[in-house]
């Protein structure tokens, strides 16, 4: 099983392959990407930091929680850290289930909970050369 916290480009195809099985009829993915504005400021890149060992554990817990709550649904979540340029994928989630209702619900749950629980932080780099840590969302 691939690492949940990575410092290079996320291999999205490999993440999807881990949730596809002969039982799955609805495979959904979510990609979080680096956006050029936040709170009115022009963002030129984001440096992601994590408490890596704990973030990996929290993500594993979330994957297990999804498998328990939606039996038959499998989720895989990978977060990238380090400096990411605009448009690059910071988080990638793949969910595989038998039907789309549970896959959509599980995917929504996965990204919402990830953003609440995983010890990961953005340091935004702005076009004027300044930088700031984001505290929350």
């Amino acid at each position: 099983m691939a690492d949940r916290i990575v410092s290079e480009m996320i291999d999205c195809k490999a993440v999807i392959d881990e949730v596809v099985s002969n039982d799955s009829g609805a495979v959904l993915t979510f990609a979080g990407t680096v956006r050029n504005t936040n709170l009115g400021r022009t963002v030129s890149a984001i440096d992601y930091h994590a408490y890596e060992s704990m973030a990996g554990k929290e993500i594993e817990k979330l994957e297990n929680e999804i498998a328990e709550r939606w039996p038959g649904v499998q989720a895989r979540i990978v977060h990238r850290i380090g400096r990411l340029e605009l448009g690059e994928t910071s988080v990638f989630i793949a969910v595989g289930g038998a039907h789309r209702e549970e896959s959509f619900a599980a995917l929504r749950h996965a990204i919402d909970r990830l953003k609440e629980e995983a010890p990961v932080w953005k340091r935004e780099l702005y076009d004027d050369g300044s930088e700031a840590w984001l505290e929350g969302s």
């Binding site: 408490y51 704990m54 977060h79 953003k115 609440e116 010890p119 990961v120 932080w121 969302s137």
Partner: protein
């Protein structure tokens, strides 16, 4: 660890907390037995900026989110977790 002894823990500061502390980790000594709340009290004495922020921060002990009464042991790793912003 017996009553009355000193235990040493490693405290990790992440993101904005690391910037405010001026370092990413420190060693902290506590009287045994100790809880996460005891560690917080001691850290608040050392770091003025921490006191008013702790209500919105979370604490982890040995890579698990902790409550005030979570025990810390000799060699424990306690992390100061500012509001997260991953995704």
């Amino acid at each position: 660890m017996m009553q009355g002894q000193t235990l040493r823990i490693r405290v990790l500061f992440f993101a904005i907390a690391g910037e405010l502390a001026g370092e990413s980790s420190v060693e902290l000594e506590l009287d045994s037995p100790a809880t996460a709340a005891d560690a917080e009290e001691k850290l608040k004495e050392r770091y003025d900026w921490l006191g008013k922020r702790l209500s919105s921060y979370r604490i982890a002990v040995d890579e698990e989110f902790a409550r005030a009464d979570t025990p810390v042991r000799d060699g424990s790793e306690l992390a100061i977790i500012p509001p997260v912003s991953g995704g």
